[in-house]
């Protein structure tokens, strides 16, 4: 018995209080700091995020994110595939924003190729990008509400998301990681009846958004858990490279769709919701307002959907229509070349940024002139935004830690890639 006690005392003396590079706890018994390990398998981390957290009583004094648990080497894998085969792997980075990953990558390749995208393809992209933004925000809303104890929100949110995935399935054949966006346009035109179904879903979503607001916006518990918590000044957020709803909640009206319009976003009339205080409530409110703005954009795009091709008719880049293969020798050659080798891209380096649900998705592509990219790098907003998390939770209660993490909305697939 005494042997066991002295064993544990010896172990206690050997505990490392320091992590390499940064001291997060001290040996001083008067200070009463406690370092705990939060995650990586905690359900509220929204993935496999490990947070080494120092507490003083109930107060969080510091936290250090430790990542890499779902690193799968997607950037490396993409270098080994021809450009059109890299799209599906790039999509799997941030697994809730697959249309954005695919568009950032395809946009970079199109810039290198100096490709003109047909107007209809641009509109179809906008519709699907905005649907994907709502998808991502819905999943954020329902999991965040679950973290705060509002479990009914979880069921309601999944119901809407499931109907949304039906739309993706109808237009592309897949519910997630759809590979819908291609270099040069989109893989297929929307099927008959899709637009009607999409309108019905959007109308439904507006209705439901009102219900969710009625459920949450006047909920005393929900408001008390969010208001005046986790605010970080806007200039500090800019230093840390934070973009997206987190930055807009702090009052900076920065949205790439407005600031540097791409993909015909300047054709649509929409607002950029911003917050005043930058606390957790503003982050929540900004995303809720963004869902509504996305609904507006989708309806305008469906109203103004131009006629024309859904993908470029440059046969060096896009596959020829199926029916031509039986009659045209050139079409068959192009098809064969594209499917075996892929298309070659002029040498150069391009960084293509777009506004995603979590901020700036920027894809860097370097081409060496061959049919495979020499380097693909995604500037993932979750990865950069995570650096602001210690600032958000420092000197708040441990109970608010989960709420702030939920409002940060990190996607670990995007962080680790």
């Amino acid at each position: 018995m005494s042997g066991a006690v002295s064993q544990s005392v010896r172990d206690a003396q050997e505990i490392e209080f320091e992590t390499p590079g940064q001291q997060i706890a001290s040996r001083d018994p008067e200070q009463e700091l406690l370092t705990i390990n939060f995650g990586p398998h905690h359900p509220a981390t929204h993935g496999v995020l490990r947070l080494l957290t120092t507490l003083e009583g109930e107060i969080v004094r510091d936290t250090k994110p430790i990542i890499g648990y779902v690193h799968t080497g997607i950037e490396k894998t993409a270098e080994d595939k021809s450009y059109w085969k890299a799209i599906p792997v790039v999509e799997r980075m941030d697994y809730l924003a697959y249309y954005f990953n695919a568009y950032a990558f395809c946009g970079a390749v199109e810039t290198l190729l100096e490709l003109e995208i047909p107007k209809r393809a641009q509109y179809l992209r906008v519709i699907h990008l905005e649907l994907c933004r709502i998808n991502s925000h819905l999943l954020w809303l329902l999991t965040s509400a679950l973290d705060l104890g509002a479990i009914s929100m979880f069921w309601y949110g999944y119901r809407d998301r499931d109907n949304l995935l039906d739309l993706f399935e109808m237009s592309s054949g897949a519910r997630m990681h759809t590979r819908y966006i291609q270099v040069g346009g989109v893989i297929e035109d929307i099927p008959p009846g899709w637009a009607k179904k999409c309108r019905a879903w959007v109308a439904d979503m507006r209705d439901r958004l009102g219900q969710y607001r009625a459920l949450l916006d006047r909920n005393e518990i929900f408001l008390r858990r969010l208001r005046h918590i986790g605010a970080v000044p806007a200039d500090r957020l800019l230093e840390l490279g934070v973009t997206g709803p987190l930055l807009r909640a702090a009052g900076v009206p920065w949205d790439l769709r407005k600031a540097a319009p791409y993909c015909s976003y300047d054709d649509f009339d929409f607002k950029v919701p911003i917050g005043t205080e930058g606390d957790n409530y503003d982050r929540y409110a900004c995303r809720m307002a963004e869902i509504e703005e996305s609904c507006n954009i989708i309806e305008q795009a469906l109203d103004g959907l131009p006629e024309g091709r859904h993908i470029t008719d440059d046969r060096k880049v896009a596959l020829p229509p199926r029916h031509e293969l039986a009659t045209s020798m050139e079409a068959l050659i192009h098809h064969f070349k594209l499917v075996t080798e892929g298309f070659r891209v002029p040498p150069g380096e391009v960084y293509f940024p777009i506004e995603g649900p979590r901020g700036e998705y920027g894809c860097f592509v370097r081409s060496d002139g061959s049919s495979k990219p020499a380097r693909v790098h995604m500037r993932d907003p979750s990865f950069v935004n995570l650096q602001a998390f210690p600032d958000m939770v420092r000197d708040t209660y441990i109970a608010d830690f989960i709420a702030t993490l939920a409002m940060l909305d990190p996607i670990l697939g995007g962080i680790d890639r």
């Binding site: 890499g68 690193h71 490396k76 490279g241 960084y351 920027g362 380097r375 500037r379 990865f383 680790d416």
Partner: protein, 170 residues
């Protein structure tokens, strides 16, 4: 976007203000300006560009230019939010002494991104507050994003091999 003339003026200004060899090359590609700089001047150049309005560091990424020398590259994507203007600053370091001064003290957003480049390419950022591996395990050897690192080069350890004594680590 700075046009080709504006880019040259900016490069000349950097040469005059910092050092004649601070800027090695300028490049205007697909409507966007790039300044290639001397790696030793990175902090001074970025600090000067911040004064010119490029106050937001959007991204830092690493590139391996294998088989060209100097092999490793680091790119800094700068953004001017007022003028909605982007500028890329690039530098190259040789593979046998891949050292670049860290910009994390000036731009806190670079902290994780420089760690990622250190992890994936082996570029050492001097003055970085906490330069450790980020995505790969702490005891990992090699830098997987280098072009001479093979895809599929990672053996997988199964309990079957462990039990039979055919574990590759032994």
């Amino acid at each position: 976007m700075p046009d080709a003339t504006g880019l040259e003026l900016l490069a000349q200004e950097l040469r005059d203000q910092i050092a004649q060899d601070a800027v090695r090359d300028t490049l205007h590609f697909r409507g966007k300006g790039t300044i290639v700089i001397d790696p030793a001047r990175v902090r001074a150049v970025l600090a000067h560009l911040r004064g010119k309005g490029y106050t937001f560091l959007a991204s830092v990424h690493g590139v391996d230019y294998y088989p060209e020398e100097p092999r490793l590259g680091v790119h800094y994507e700068l953004l001017d939010m007022q003028e909605v203007d982007r500028l890329t600053v690039k530098l190259r370091v040789p593979i046998d002494s891949p050292e670049v001064e860290s910009v994390t003290p000036d731009w806190p957003t670079a902290e994780l991104q420089e760690r990622e480049i250190y992890d994936m390419f082996g570029v050492v950022f001097t003055g970085h507050p906490d330069l450790r591996r980020l995505l790969m395990p702490e005891d990992y050897e090699g830098h997987p994003q280098r072009r001479d690192f093979p895809v599929g080069g990672e053996p997988v350890l199964f309990t079957y091999n462990d039990a039979r004594g055919t574990d590759y680590t032994q």
